[in-house]
């Protein structure tokens, strides 16, 4: 399973940018971030949320530019997202949920990287990142589980080595879960955050209008990828995750597992990653797990 060409750059954001690009990203991110939530800067929590949002928008813009997405598309997508956040109620302005969105952003980006360059490194990257979801709050764990299963389903459709692929994909998550459980048992402490209490009930009256905004950016990105003929496995995985999340959130079962804030930012994070992956070059699809060779 030796990859052709250079390995995918999961940490492309860490590569040095020129100062002008960094300044541009920072300016656009700050302006749009403040435009989105500036009207509600009345508490320390909201200030914190605004700061994190500005930083993430700046990084996103930098990533889009680095990935080769045109400035027009990048700008439009950012304005759209800012408008969506601006239109949502203040109760959605939750930094923890924003962190969840960031995690899903990374997870979807890694999936897209595996799709572009199927190989051991990208598979391991996806497996390790998705396994980290086990340690996060339920919203992220659910998202990662759905993404992993979707990736597995996508693989078994085209390849026969299910056991090998499954072990490589799910073992880190299994070990992480076992490790976290043992850690909790042995250290009499826990890595998991305290019980998550949703700020607003998804099905609560008066929140119906939020659902209108929820899918705006995702749908726009999926449409854009369809037009660009980039609709592939990660898009399906993302849609599956979104559908599953919506059902759990709407049904409020398991109770408190997935709040509307989580879903809002998970949807946005995944869509943002897909947009960033749109213009990245697609490798010739390889069968990542080929039959065993006979040694000797």
């Amino acid at each position: 399973m030796e990859s052709a060409g250079s390995p995918p750059r999961f940490f492309a954001l860490l590569l040095p940018f020129d100062r002008a690009a960094a300044a541009r990203a920072l300016a656009i991110g700050t302006v749009l971030g403040l435009a989105a939530v500036g009207h509600s800067l009345d508490s320390a929590a909201h200030f914190r949320f605004a700061a994190v949002l500005c930083a993430l928008l700046s990084l996103w813009y930098a990533h889009l530019e680095h990935s080769g997405v045109s400035r027009a598309v990048s700008g439009a997508a950012m304005v759209l997202l800012a408008w969506q956040i601006h239109s949502a109620p203040r109760s959605l302005y939750d930094s923890a949920a924003l962190g969840g969105g960031l995690f899903v952003y990374l997870a979807v980006w890694v999936l897209a990287a595996y799709d572009r360059q199927p190989g051991l490194q990208s598979l391991a990257g996806a497996a390790l990142l998705l396994s980290a979801g086990v340690l996060a709050k339920p919203a992220i764990a659910i998202s990662c589980a759905v993404l992993s299963l979707a990736l597995f389903a996508e693989h078994v459709r085209a390849n026969s080595n299910r056991l090998g692929f499954g072990l490589l994909l799910f073992t880190p998550a299994l070990l992480c879960w076992l490790g976290a459980s043992a850690f909790g048992l042995l250290s009499a402490g826990t890595l998991r955050a305290g019980p998550f209490i949703p700020h607003i009930g998804a099905g609560a009256p008066g929140n119906a209008h939020i659902w209108r905004y929820l899918f705006f950016v995702p749908l726009a990105v999926i449409a854009f990828r369809l037009i660009r003929r980039r609709f592939r496995g990660p898009d399906l995985a993302y849609l599956a995750m979104l559908a599953m999340g919506s059902v759990i959130c709407r049904a409020e079962w398991p109770q408190g597992a997935l709040s509307l804030e989580d879903l809002f930012f998970i949807a946005a994070g995944g869509a943002a990653a897909l947009l960033a992956a749109t213009e990245a070059p697609v490798a010739v699809r390889q069968a990542p797990l080929t039959p065993a060779e006979t040694p000797g």
Partner: protein, 623 residues
């Protein structure tokens, strides 16, 4: 009829056909191969095995109009042999034989060579006779045994004592040890709990860094190191006529049964046989293997080098001994049961040429042909895949010193000699040599060619082998840490840290592993509070992370390595790697004990014990 060398009287091929030693078709074939391989006709005919060497050299004598002498019946006059010129004799295959009527008679197996012409020009009174190269090697070993043995043992220790493990712990190292140990002991008596906690914490932090480093290496190798990947086109582009002579050392001890495996693998090598200089390096007291090698009636490419008995009886000493008879431009080492890829020599050659003159060694990847034999062989295969397919390529990519593996390392002979060759006092001489090359500014690269070996399938045998490896790594670490500042200067911060994390971390992790596992298993089983004193919250956090994350990463990295090697059936078995590490700890403690009690003792690994071996032997002998 001892005479100065004149021009050949009659074509060699004609003489051989006339004597009925080869047919005219064989001569035609040999002439064709001579053109294709760019070798001398005599070398081609000898490498085919059509003619007995003794008959061939008789014909060669006729070819040059010289007398033939059988040194077994008429040995050399020891007094004529200049002990300072032994290496010259081995290189040019000649030896002063006798003095008759004041004239020196030189016995040579290369009468037409430039070296003989030079000798004749320097002293017109010298006369020549022809003899077999095997007789010359035999006589040289007899006459120069003491000198060859001395060089094999002490070349490095005398030339660069700082790099030799002859002294296990140097006096300054002992002083440093005492300077640290004494205050620590005092503190331990005064404040036992805090000191133990601090030691525990430090050890865990170091192990955590070591795990992290290995994970990073593995991650990098999940891609591929393109620079050392040799393509089929690059091999095609090699001109066979330009290929250099390649020496292959096969050190063996008490393993007469498996030699046919390597002999068959070497015959299958995609390399002109006339340019192979294979030395079966056997201990002089190991008559069983010597007789087995003779019984195989191998062609003249194979030479038997008998290593005279002396202590320490180690593989590096045997290799050093045989090295003095090597005539190749490049040299490699295989174990007797090895099955290298047929194009390995060419791939190594391409790598040398591609990477430039700073490359001293190219390491091929090792793996096992009996991976599926039992749990131990599966674990061993996972470990080797991790080591050779993941760690070493990444170290190569980062230009970090590479500890070489036991076999299939290909050397530029000149650089190997410049480095002082192997350290006979180090029981992992290969790992030590890799680091020494790095310290000398040379590069060690990894090539995408595999040698399949026999994995140890018996626990006691495995522990013997592993304890030697761990002891050798301890020796290597101690040798390199004699002058830490100097090492830092020579290999840089990356190389220095790599030595600590990769070699030092490897040693510490097998030693510390039981201390990590046992207290927690005890705690889980008995809920005892007695271990809690050593594990305050901070230390407990790191210890737990090491235990859980470390083991998890070990499992997953092993899986990745197996997948990279396409050993998918081994993936589920990777889940049992933590148990294998407990076994490693047993070997680690044995190695530590032996470092103190018998530092140079070579724990012999028995080969040919796999249930797959008879099948491999059958397929080898049917070639």
């Amino acid at each position: 009829m001892s005479t100065p060398i004149s021009a050949p009287l009659r074509p060699l091929g004609e003489i051989l056909v006339e004597k009925g030693l080869i047919s005219s078709q064989q001569l035609e074939e040999a002439l064709r191969l001579r053109g294709e391989w760019g070798s001398r006709l005599g070398d081609v005919i000898l490498s085919t095995g059509w003619v007995r060497p003794l008959d061939f050299y008789c014909a060669l004598a006729d070819h040059f109009g010289l007398a033939f002498v059988d040194l077994m019946n008429d040995p050399v006059d020891d007094a004529l042999v200049d002990q300072d010129k032994l290496l010259e004799y081995t290189q040019h295959l000649y030896i002063p034989w006798k003095r008759v009527n004041g004239a020196l008679l030189v016995a040579t197996a290369e009468p037409g060579s430039e070296a003989m012409a030079a000798i004749a020009a320097a002293d017109p009174a010298v006369r020549f006779v022809v003899t077999s190269k095997f007789d010359i090697i035999w006589e040289l070993q007899r006459v120069g045994e003491r000198r060859f043995s001395h060089l094999a043992l002490y070349r490095l220790a005398e030339k660069a004592p700082a790099h030799s493990a002859r002294v296990v712990v140097t006096r300054p190292q002992k002083r440093v040890f005492v300077a640290f140990a004494l205050p620590l002991l005092v503190l331990l008596v005064l404040f036992p709990s805090p000191v133990l906690i601090a030691l525990n914490g430090l050890m865990n932090l170091f192990l955590f860094a070591s795990f992290l480093f290995r994970t990073v290496l593995c991650w990098m190798s999940c891609g591929e190191n393109d620079q050392s990947t040799v393509t089929a086109e690059e091999i095609e582009a090699l001109r066979t006529q330009d290929l250099p002579v390649y020496t292959v050392l096969v050190p063996m001890y008490k393993e007469p049964g498996v030699l046919p495996i390597l002999a068959a693998a070497l015959r299958k090598m995609d390399y002109p046989r006339s340019k192979l200089d294979v030395k079966l390096v056997l201990e002089a007291d190991d008559m069983a293997t010597i007789n087995a090698a003779k019984a195989l009636a191998l062609d003249a490419t194979f030479e038997i080098i008998r290593v005279p008995p002396s202590l320490p009886k180690t593989k590096p000493k045997a290799c050093n001994y045989a090295l003095q008879f090597a005539r190749g431009e490049y040299l490699t080492i295989y174990d007797a049961e090895d099955k290298p890829d047929p194009d390995q020599l060419k791939k190594a050659l391409v790598t040398f040429r591609k990477l430039g003159p700073q490359t001293a060694c190219v390491q091929a990847r090792l793996n096992y042909f009996n991976a599926e034999e039992n749990w131990l062989t599966r674990m061993f295969t996972l470990e080797y895949s991790l080591w050779f397919d993941m760690f070493l390529p990444a170290l190569d990519r980062l230009r970090i010193p590479i500890p070489l593996g036991g076999t299939s390392n290909h050397f530029d002979l000149e650089k190997l000699l410049a480095a002082g060759a192997w350290d006979p006092f180090n029981v992992t001489e290969d790992a030590d040599l890799g680091l020494r090359f790095a310290a000398m500014g040379y590069r060690v690269a990894v090539v995408n060619s595999v040698t399949y070996e026999e994995a140890n399938s018996q626990t006691s045998n495995w522990i013997r082998q592993r304890s030697r490896w761990i002891k050798g790594h301890m020796q290597t670490w101690l040798v390199n840490m004699r002058d830490p500042a100097g090492l830092l200067r020579r290999v840089g911060i990356r190389g220095f840290c790599s030595l600590q994390l990769f070699i030092g971390g490897g040693i510490l992790s097998v030693i510390a592993y039981p201390f990590m596992v046992v207290p927690f298993v005890l705690w889980v089983l008995t809920r005892t509070t007695s271990v809690a004193a050593l594990f305050p919250p901070g230390v407990r956090l790191v210890s737990l992370l090491n235990l859980l994350a470390g083991n998890s990463f070990l499992i997953y990295l092993s899986m990745l390595a197996a997948a990279k090697r396409h050993h998918f059936t081994l993936l589920p078995h990777a889940l049992t790697v933590p148990a294998y590490w407990l076994l490693m700890s047993v070997a680690g403690y044995k190695g530590l004990w032996q470092l103190v009690t018998r530092p140079f003792y070579w724990e012999k690994t028995n080969h040919g014990i796999s249930r797959f071996t008879p099948e491999v032997l059958r397929s080898s002998t049917s070639v």
